[in-house]
């Protein structure tokens, strides 16, 4: 009798775990690890597609459109890049300059990837700041013109989100409607699980990088995170991270440790996470109230508090004892 019971139990457990097989592949592109958790995609070349996008927008790829823009006073871009620049300008305007894709001159001074990082001189930064300002570029049809040659574009604050969005569209076109992509910590949902459930996404603890602070279920959309721990170096006991304030040229230093933005638009999610991080908690919460864009956000502060915007409601589950919800 008991043996029969055990067999029945085991069978039930096995049956309940059947379903679509998801495969997880990891690629390296856009200077980060990209994990694709998808059902069998056959011979769809996702990696190739990502690389082709990288070849378009990376400022380190010499033939990319961004590099060409940086080398010339004006350049004609493709429709995709034009849309991206229009969006970036829109965010620049609405966030009062907190998000700025023309920071290239300043970000080039801070070489976060090098073996031997240095802190640029104040004079160098101030000189570079003269070439920063999204109002200094203009679009005429598909032709982008800079007001002077020193202006450099850097799409670091929006690139991953843009590529993520493009990848999701690409996969949808190929008939793949389930799974998710993880672009170095930015999540793009291709579609819910085959049983209709959403994906459980945990948010990394900025202070304990192997731990998470909470969980949210995503059935669609994008989650973009900007944090002070992603790319940084220490010098003389001070931490310098890669998110620069476009107005000062220095890494942002406010109460925010990391901010996660949920949005149905991938590029916008990425741009907003950068912008909100630069703005600081109070300004970011006011910005949310202005409802200029539709998004939700989760802020983790250095003092151990987590703030969420109203739309999150109770769907963010705190899972860490080290933080308090506000």
């Amino acid at each position: 009798m008991k043996r029969i019971l055990c067999v029945l139990l085991l069978t039930a457990v096995m049956i309940s775990s059947c379903g679509t097989e998801y495969k997880s592949d990891t690629y390296f592109a856009l200077d980060t690890f990209i994990t694709a958790n998808l059902p069998d995609i056959g011979d769809v070349d996702l990696y190739g597609y990502i690389k082709s996008l990288e070849d378009t927008i990376s400022k380190t790829v010499s033939k990319s459109q961004i590099s060409e823009i940086n080398k010339n006073i004006s350049y004609t871009v493709t429709d995709d890049i034009k849309e991206l620049i229009i969006l970036s300008n829109d965010v620049y305007q609405k966030t009062n300059g907190a998000f700025d894709i023309t920071c290239g001159a300043v970000s080039d001074l801070w070489d976060f990837k090098s073996e031997d990082p240095r802190i640029p001189e104040r004079s160098e930064i101030e000189k570079a700041l003269e070439n920063v300002g999204a109002s200094e570029i203009s679009l005429n049809g598909n032709t982008l013109t800079k007001s002077n040659e020193g202006i450099m574009l850097d799409l670091g604050g929006i690139g991953k989100g843009y590529v993520a969005e493009k990848c999701v569209e690409y996969l949808h076109e190929k008939g793949i409607n389930s799974g998710y992509l993880n672009f170095g910590g930015n999540i793009a949902v291709v579609g819910e699980k085959d049983n209709g459930d959403g994906w459980g996404v945990a948010l990394r603890d900025p202070l304990r990088l192997n731990d998470t602070v909470g969980r949210i279920i995503m059935k669609s959309g994008y989650l973009s995170v900007s944090g002070d721990y992603e790319r940084c170096f220490e010098y003389n006991g001070q931490k310098y991270h890669h998110i620069l304030d476009p107005k000062t040229g220095y890494p942002v230093n406010n109460e925010i440790s990391s901010v996660a933005v949920l949005c149905s638009d991938g590029a916008l999610a990425d741009a907003l996470s950068t912008a909100l991080f630069v703005m600081g908690l109070d300004d970011a919460l006011s910005f949310y109230q202005e409802k200029k864009y539709t998004f939700e956000a989760i802020f983790i502060t250095k003092s151990g508090y987590i703030y969420t915007t109203e739309g999150i409601n109770n769907s963010f589950e705190l899972t860490s004892k080290n933080y308090i919800m506000k």
């Binding site: 998710y180 994906w199 945990a202 998470t212 989650l223 990391s258 589950e317 705190l318």
Partner: protein
């Protein structure tokens, strides 16, 4: 009658029977998963509610005509009040990361779970 009657004196088979039941109980204890939970999952007849184990909260439920009050406090969850007849759910006390509290008359199951995490953002 053709079929037998069991003995009225203790037999070695009895010891086997006892051992069998003990073994089953121990096997169950070893193999039933411990949840290591950070999420409180409350399953009623129609719904499943999830709450964080680390956010103090009082939850009022009314199921099958029985009112239940569930409290989440200091990383534990327990039933503080219930209109049910047996009161087993109240007597169960606090649970943290293992086990579950069941109120059979109300059809309510309270357990902790670790929310399934598929990806880490950030």
């Amino acid at each position: 009658m053709g079929e037998g009657i069991v003995s009225r004196k203790l037999k070695p088979g009895d010891v086997l029977a006892v051992l069998f039941v003990f073994a089953l109980a121990i096997l169950l204890m070893l193999f039933l998963p411990s949840t290591n939970g950070s999420v409180v999952k409350i399953t009623t007849n129609d719904n499943v509610y999830t709450y964080s184990l680390y956010e103090d909260r009082i939850i009022e439920l009314s199921e099958n005509g029985i009112k239940l009050t569930v409290v989440i406090e200091n990383g534990c969850v327990y039933v503080s009040d219930s209109e049910c007849r047996d009161g087993i759910c109240k007597a169960h006390g606090k649970i943290k990361d293992k086990g579950c509290i069941v109120c059979l008359p109300a059809g309510v199951v309270i357990e902790t779970d670790c929310g399934e995490v598929d990806a880490v953002a950030g």
